[in-house]
Each structure stands twice: as C-alpha cells, then as structure tokens.
C-alpha cells in the first residue's frame, strides 16, 4: 500500500494547463517589472494571437466545467434522493403546523390568555374552540390533532374524539326549540332560501321541477350562492353557513339545498337573534326568522353556556393543562420534540426535566453510546492480533486467511444475524454443545440472547471485518526492521512492541474505531432481532416511533440528534483518515 503513490503512471508529473498557467503568470509578472534587459515587451501570445495567459485561463475553465458537468448528474441525484429526505426529516423535527392549521381561531383567542394566571380561558376562547373543533370534526381532522397533542398530554386524544361527537349536543338544544316553533328550521330548503340569492333558489326550484317531469334528467344541482345582505342581519350565522355550504359542496359533493345545516349554524343563529335586531329584515323567510327572534327573547327559552357545555362533554376541558398544552404548541415551529428527545418537557415556566420515572431517552442514548463503545473495544481487542498476524505472515498464507475475514464481510447481514440467533438461543447450538459437554446443566442453560450480551456478541462479529481491514492496511506498512532494531538495542519484547510497534499501528486503530463506532451507534437490524428489550439501541426507538406510535416528529428529533453525533464523528474521520482513503475489501 505504501507504494500506492510512488509507482504506477502518475498524472502529477505531466505538465498540465495549470502549470503552464502559473508559468505564464510568472512570465507576465516579470514583464511588469522595470526592464532588466529583455526589451521585447508585450505579453506572450498563443498561436491564435490571444495572450497566452488568457487562453490558458480559458482552457482551465473549460476543464473545470467539464469535470463539474460529469459530476452534476450524480450530485443532483444524491441531493434529490438522499439529501432532500434528510433535510425533510430535520424539518419535521421542529415542524408543528397542525395545531395552528386545525384550531386557527382558538390559537388566536388563546394568545391573549395568560397561562400563568391559574384561571380558565375566557368565553371567547371557548367560542373559538367550538367553531374550530366542530369544523375539524366535520373534516375529520380532530382525531389527528388529538393524537398529535396526546404525545404531549396523555388523554387529549380521547378528549378530542369525544368532543367531535359531543359538540353537536350544544346546537341540538337550540335546534329542538326552533323546530318546535317551526318545522322548517330542520329542513334544508328553507335555510337555503334564507341564506341564498333569489336567483340560485329559483334555479334550484326549476331544476327540481325538471327532474320530476323527466326521468332521464341528469343535470347536476345548480350551484348555491350566498346572499350578500344576509351577513348584515345575521353576521355569525352567515359566516357559519357559508363554511357549511363550502363543506357540503367540496367534501360531501352535495348541495346546501338538500342538506340541513350543521347544529353550529343553529347555535350561531341563536346568538345573532339574541344580540341583534331582525325587525327590519324583509327578505325571504322573514316571518320564520321573526318568529324565532320572538322565541329567543321570551324568558322560557332554554340556553346553554359554552363553558358548561364543554365541561359536560368532558370535564378535562375545564382542566388548565389542556389549554396550556394547546397554547404551548400553537406556534408553527416547536422545540417540543427535541425537548422530549432529551427527556424534557415544555412547561409554562419554560423547559424542565421530566420526572425520574419518565426519562427513557437519556438512558437509551447512554446505553447506545455505552454498547457502541463496548463493541468498538471488543473489536479492537479481537482485530489487533488478527491484523498483526495477517501483516506478518507470508503473502500467500495471509491472502488465504484474508478470505476468512472477507467472507463474513461479504455475507448478508441477515444471514449472520440469523446465524447468531440460531447459535445463542437457549435451545441453540452453543447451549446444546455446553450441555452435551456437561459444562452447563440442562436446566441452567445460559441466557445469551434478547439482552445486551447477545447484541454485543453479534455486533462485534458483524463489525469485526471493518476493524481488521483498516488495521491490516496500516500494519502492513510498518517495516519489521524497526522492531528488530529496538530489540537489538536492548529493548525487551514488551518495550519493543509498546514503544515502537504500537505507536505506528495507532492510525489503523483510530480509523477502524471511528468506522466501527459510527456503524454501531446507528445499527437497527441486529439489535432488533437479538437485543430483546434491554439490548436495543436508539435506532430501534426511532423505528418504533415511525411505524408503531406514529410520533414522527419525535422520531425525527431523535434521528436528528443521532445524525449530529454521526456527522461529528464523520468529520473527525475525514480529518484523521480522509474520505478518499476509505478502502473496501483490503
């Protein structure tokens, strides 16, 4: 390997445009000086008459461009298929749009609430939450938000699921009373007449008539259009009804002409009638509206207080922590996932450590580091003698033995993992042999799998070639004469090894260790199969959060931390060994 740079055809000896460029530059510089004797003057010219310097610069630029053009396709490919996904993961670890997108009004209303006051938010917040959660439930988004917030406060998931159903009850109170007054309040068309333009209502009626007369009539229902002036009389009702109309058209692919409105709309109607005055209204269905207004103003009209109603759906709504959590996670970006990943949580007083018994990730990170270190050290211990032997044996024998190192290196990871599973099981090969030899009693079989020991043994085996190969390539460059010289100067065997040989082999140990450590802290498959519960790594937790608990943000945050550790090591590896010097297969 030491001959790699010296022998063989080398390009660096051949003149290149760059060398020529420097020479030309030097020439020019000399010409710029006061004349010494050569009075020719003027720059050196190339064959085509341009100054040599410029024409060489052009050649150099062309070469650079050609090299970049060759690299560009792969670079773009890697950026798109690999770097972009990693960037996406980094983004997800802080992204938190869901609360803001699902509960926009609540988030805005909560901004004024002082979460350290110890009091529940005011009615405006409950009112906003009523609209937001009602809409979210209709669009079936509330369960997603519920599971998102459930990561931060257990129980929120079921709270949102319950509320999605329960919020209908609030409007039912008013709807029932309006319905008792006039059946039309529970019909689709009267509402549409109240809210829609005269033209669109007329078009719909014509459509109904046409459909009754003709069996083959297949035209779609005419579009519904909101009337502008209704918003002056019933502002909140109009807003809620227009949301409803959009929903019915886009999600249900139906028409407000044929669907009775949400109970949310009825609640808003009650509020408008309570606060406003409809006596001046003379549009369609004015009678019906005025009758309802009279009913609302009568003292027997039953009303429901929003806060109480929320409390009836689930008393958790009267729990300060729910509102604190919503407020805390309302910004579009959060550090909450990262805090979770390091066993902390957001509180109203800022980030704080979790309770002792809830801290799992710190333990997992420590365990990952500890086990990776153990694996690295056992790899060093096992690889050193092998690499030494390989580098001192004659070439032919060394090549033969090298096969024993390369064969596991080339064998599928799953083959080796399954082999270890087969060997380490309690009914496995090693235990069977030990029992057969009588070294272990049949009922005292060793537990070597589904714990840390299993992971360490299997991973040491799997990563051992990655340690042997760099060590070997360093050791085979150490001249044996140094040790002989040390001995002939009177060093003992140990001194000769420790003071002369070992320091020269350190680069190999360094390269191998970083490589093995980087590979082992990110391992997933082997710990998953032989690690049980105590022998798993942080990667297994990441996989769990992606595929089972679906807490992608936390998975991304854990992944980001792991990635940062690996990148630091990668950088160190690059500094110490150099990326270009990675060798495969000896």
């Amino acid at each position: 390997m030491s001959t790699l740079k010296g022998s063989g055809p080398q390009t660096s000896d051949a003149p290149t445009p760059e060398d020529a460029f420097h020479e030309a530059a030097a020439l020019d510089a000399r010409e710029g000086e006061p004349p010494h004797g050569s009075g020719n003057g003027g720059p050196v010219l190339a064959a085509d008459g341009t100054p040599l310097k410029r024409s060489l610069a052009r050649a150099l630029r062309a070469q650079k461009m050609r090299a970049l053009a060759l690299i560009a396709p792969l670079l773009i490919f890697v950026l798109l298929t690999f770097i972009a996904p990693i960037a996406d993961m980094l983004f997800r670890s802080v992204e938190n749009q869901i609360v803001r997108d699902t509960l926009p009004r609540t988030v805005e209303a909560l901004a004024d609430w002082d979460d350290t006051s110890g009091e529940l938010p005011d009615d405006a917040v409950f009112d906003a939450a009523y609209t937001d959660i009602f809409l979210a439930a209709e669009y079936k988004l509330h369960t997603r938000l519920g599971s998102r917030l459930n990561y931060e406060l257990t129980g929120v998931s079921s709270l949102f699921r319950k509320s999605g159903r329960g919020l209908d009850d609030i409007g039912e109170v008013y709807l029932d009373q309006f319905e008792d007054l006039d059946e039309n309040w529970d019909e689709a068309l009267p509402w549409a007449e109240l809210m829609g333009t005269a033209d669109s209502v007329a078009a719909y009626k014509a459509w109904v008539a046409a459909e009754e007369n003709d069996e083959d009539f297949n035209d779609p229902i005419p579009a519904f259009e909101m009337r502008d002036d209704i918003a002056d009389v019933l502002p909140r009702t109009a807003e809620a009804y227009s949301r409803f109309a959009t929903f019915v058209r886009d999600e249900d692919e139906d028409s407000p002409f044929e669907e009775e409105p949400w109970t949310l709309v009825v609640t808003r109607l009650y509020e408008d009638l309570r606060d406003g005055d409809v006596s001046s209204y003379d549009g369609p269905r004015a009678e019906m509206l005025k009758a309802a207004d009279a009913l609302v103003d009568s003292p027997d009209f039953e009303t429901a207080d929003l806060k109480t109603a929320f409390g009836e759906i689930d008393e958790d709504w009267l729990d300060l922590r729910v509102w604190e959590t919503i407020k805390m996670y309302s910004p579009a970006y959060t550090n909450g996932y990262f805090l979770n990943a390091v066993d902390m949580q957001k509180t109203t007083d800022g980030p704080a450590l979790r309770d002792e018994d809830e801290r799992i990730y710190g333990l997992l990170f420590k365990r990952t580091m500890f086990m990776s270190l153990v694996i690295t050290f056992s790899c060093i211990a096992l690889a050193y003698p092998v690499a030494y032997l390989l580098s001192t044996l004659p070439m032919r024998t060394a090549n033969l033995l090298m096969i024993l190192v390369l064969l596991p290196f080339w064998t599928s990871l799953l083959v080796r993992t399954s082999a270890w599973k087969v060997m380490l099981q309690q009914q496995g090969v090693i235990n069977d042999v030990l029992v057969w030899l009588g070294l272990v009693a049949d009922d005292g079989r060793l537990v070597m799998i589904n714990n840390q020991l299993g992971t360490i043994i299997a991973m040491t085996h799997i990563l051992l070639p990655f340690m042997i190969l760099p060590m070997y390539s360093v050791m085979s460059t150490i001249p044996p004469s140094y040790v002989r010289a040390a001995k002939s100067l009177g060093a003992t065997n140990w001194t000769a090894f420790w003071r002369v040989y070992f320091p020269q082999s350190v680069p190999g140990i360094g390269a191998g260790s970083i490589l093995v450590f980087i590979l082992s802290i990110g391992y997933y498959i082997t710990p998953e199969i032989v690690g049980g519960t105590t022998g798993t790594f942080i990667s297994n937790r990441i996989a769990y959060h992606i595929s089972s608990s679906l807490n992608w943000g936390l998975a991304a945050a854990l992944g980001t931390i792991l990635l940062a550790v690996v990148l630091i090591l990668y950088w160190a590896y690059d500094k110490i060994v150099g990326i270009d010097n990675v060798k495969l297969g000896g």
Binding site: G8, A69, P85, V429, A543
Partner: protein
C-alpha cells in the same frame, strides 16, 4: 526466511509433560461429558504423557506412521464406547490431532517456522498468539459454517437434532430448500430482489462512474465538499436514511412504489461505486486520453475505447458492491417499500422476528453461496487491476 531452523529432537522431560498438558485440556471436555471433570484432567494428562513417552522414547522413530494410524484407531474406538457415533468421529479427530502433536512437539518441528534464536518462552508466546488468532478466525467463520448444515435439518428446529449428530440420513433433508422454491412468498421476494438490485446497480454505476471520472480530474472546485456529500449515504445510519426517505417519499408519492425502492437503493450504492472507481482512476494514465484525442478520437470514443476498458475492473467491482448493498438491504426497503416490494432480506427479517421456519437457513445458505461467488469475482478483479497497474507483488 533467511535463517533455516533445524528440527531438533526435544528431551523427553520436555515433550511428555507438554503433551500431557494438552491431554489434560482435552480431558476437561471428555471428563465433563462423562461425569467427572477432575478425573478427566488427571486421566487425560496421564494417558497422553504415557503415549508421548512410548512414541518418542520407546518406539523407533521410523514407526511414526503406524503409530499415528494406531492412535486414530484406538481413540476412535474409545470414543465409540463413550459416546457412540458422534464419539467415534470426535475420537478419531482427537487421535489424528494427538498423533501429529506428539511428534510435532517431540521432534522439535514446532521450531522450524520460527527464528532459531528465540527462547522457549518466546516460542510458547508465538504459538499461544497463533492459537488466539486462530480462535478469532473461528469466531469469524463459525456462524456461517453452522448455518449451512442446519439448513439440511429434517425437523423444524434451529439446532442440531440427535439424528443429525448420529449422521443418520433420516436427520437430513432438502425440505427447507423445497419450501423456498415452492413457497410463493419466498419466490415473490426473490423476484423482487432480482428486479430491484440490478436496476439500482445500473443507476448507481452509470451515474457513479461518470462522477468518479469528473472527480478524478485535478481542477474540481469544492472537491472535498462534493465527495463528502456523495459518500454520506454510506456514513449516515440506515435508520435515519430510512426515516428521511419514508417521510420525503410519502410527500412526493414514491413511498410504496418499486421506483421509490430502486431510487433509494441506488443512492445507498453510490458511495461504493465512487470509492472503487476513483481508486482505480488513481492509476489511470491521463496521457492516454490525450493521445486518443490527438489521433482524432472524439471524447465519447475516447471514453468507450480507451478509458472504459482500462477502468472496467474497478467499475465492475463497484457495481458488485452496489449490487450486494441493494441485495442485502433491509431497513430502507421496510420503510420505503410496501408489501408488493418485499425483498428476500425483508422476508428473512420477518421470518426471524416471528421464527416461522428454518427455511430462513436454507435461504441463508443460498445467499452465502452467492456472496462467495461475488467475493471471488471481486478479488480476481482487484488483483487483475492491481497487476495491470503494477502495484501488487502477488
């Protein structure tokens, strides 16, 4: 080795106890298997020391061959009495080993490969060192060797059955191989692997080779940064790549498609192609391309007729690395793929987690055979290319 060391017959008071010690070591196991470790150690020491005394002190040195054969016979018979058929095999191996060992120690043959001036302590250390290294080689290779015979198990066990140990033909069968070749799930997985891996290899080799040629030119700006990006798929932990790809590919609709898996695997294979091809290009003489251009070849012709044939070994071995990366890959495919893209490793992973049947071992054996083939190819190519560049003495 410049200085020849002669084999000198060792004194009996050295060889007999040495052989006895080895016998005591073997006695631990024989004793343990038959009830008493202590008795095993004592008897082992006594018997072997006595045998060494007979062979070296009593018998004529010319009787070496007959003595060795006799020892194999006697030990095999003793093994048969103690432990039936497996005992016979173990006994014969013991007999062969001790026959060789007695003369190796006694006639001083163990000193032949070493320098003549070593003290006996150094000789002992030298051989203990080799035994330790040997044990590590065993550690490296045993798991693979254990899997192969187990895959011929007639039962659905993951360990050697008594029938197998008795070398009873009944204990062996090809049924797990039959399972593999008849089960539609495994066949589908094999087909998927054989579709995905070559496609991914093709992508990474074609992009990778071009880029490696670009990178080997001397005037690449940001060379280090580009190299770091291109090598990163090899360094970033697979679970992180898998997570990122899962998130990103689901955004752009590639998650759960064959295309997605192929692209992901191609990205993972690229570092291997880059590394091997740039290493090959170190020895490539650029004046050859200049010469070709001088004689009127356009860049494309130069590439295919001059450069490509010379770097082909590197390209092929890079391709094999990329192939095996994709063929072995399981983490990314689990996340990026869906049930229709289930590959062999994925199927094995599921099988291992749920412990269905030793069919996995049959598949493992087939995969080992494939790796041996690939390893041989790569080694041949590597040596060839090194020879072509005049770098390897071998």
């Amino acid at each position: 080795m410049a200085v020849e060391t002669k084999a000198v017959k060792q004194p009996l008071q050295f060889s007999a106890p040495m052989v006895g010690l080895a016998g005591a070591f073997a006695g631990i196991f024989v004793g343990a298997a038959n009830g008493s470790v202590l008795l095993g150690i004592i008897l082992g020491f006594a018997i072997l020391a006595l045998l060494a005394f007979i062979a070296l002190g009593v018998l004529d040195p010319k009787l070496e061959k007959p003595f060795k054969w006799g020892l194999i016979g006697v030990m095999a018979l003793a093994g048969l009495l103690l432990g039936s058929l497996p005992g016979l095999v173990v006994g014969a191996i013991f007999g062969w080993f001790f026959g060789w060992f007695i003369y190796w120690i006694g006639m001083g043959r163990h000193r032949v490969p070493l320098q003549p001036y070593l003290t006996s302590g150094q000789v002992l250390w030298e051989y203990s060192f080799r035994v330790i290294a040997g044990a590590i080689f065993v550690f490296l290779i045993t798991p693979i060797l254990v899997v192969m015979p187990l895959s011929f198990n007639a039962e659905d066990f993951f360990t050697f059955t008594p029938e197998m140990l008795r070398f009873d033909p009944e204990g062996y069968s090809l049924k797990h191989y039959r399972d593999f070749f008849t089960s539609s799930e495994w066949q589908q997985a094999l087909r998927n692997s054989l579709i995905i891996a070559p496609l991914a290899t093709l992508l990474s080799v074609s992009f990778g080779t071009l880029a490696a040629i670009g990178l080997s030119s001397e005037h690449v700006p940001f060379r280090r940064a580009i190299m770091a990006i291109l090598i990163s798929p090899m360094i970033v932990p697979l679970i992180i790549s898998a997570a990122g790809m899962y998130f990103f590919y689901s955004r752009i609709g590639l998650q759960g498609t064959l295309m997605g898996v192929v692209l992901a695997h191609a990205a993972l294979g690229i570092p291997f192609v880059i590394i091997t091809v740039t290493a090959t290009l170190v020895g490539f003489d650029r004046s050859l391309t200049r010469a070709a251009a001088n004689m009127g070849a356009d860049p494309v012709t130069t590439f295919f007729r001059v450069q490509m044939p010379l770097i082909l070994p590197g390209v092929i071995s890079g391709g094999l690395f990329a192939f095996i990366t994709s063929f072995d890959e399981v983490v990314v495919v689990i996340f990026v793929g869906s049930a229709q893209q289930q590959t062999l490793p994925w199927q094995m992973f599921t099988g291992l987690r749920e412990q269905i049947s030793p069919t996995i071992l049959a598949v493992a054996t087939i995969l080992v055979a494939i790796s041996i083939m690939l390893l041989t190819t790569v080694e041949i190519l590597r040596r060839r290319s090194e020879k072509m560049r005049g770098m390897s003495p071998g």
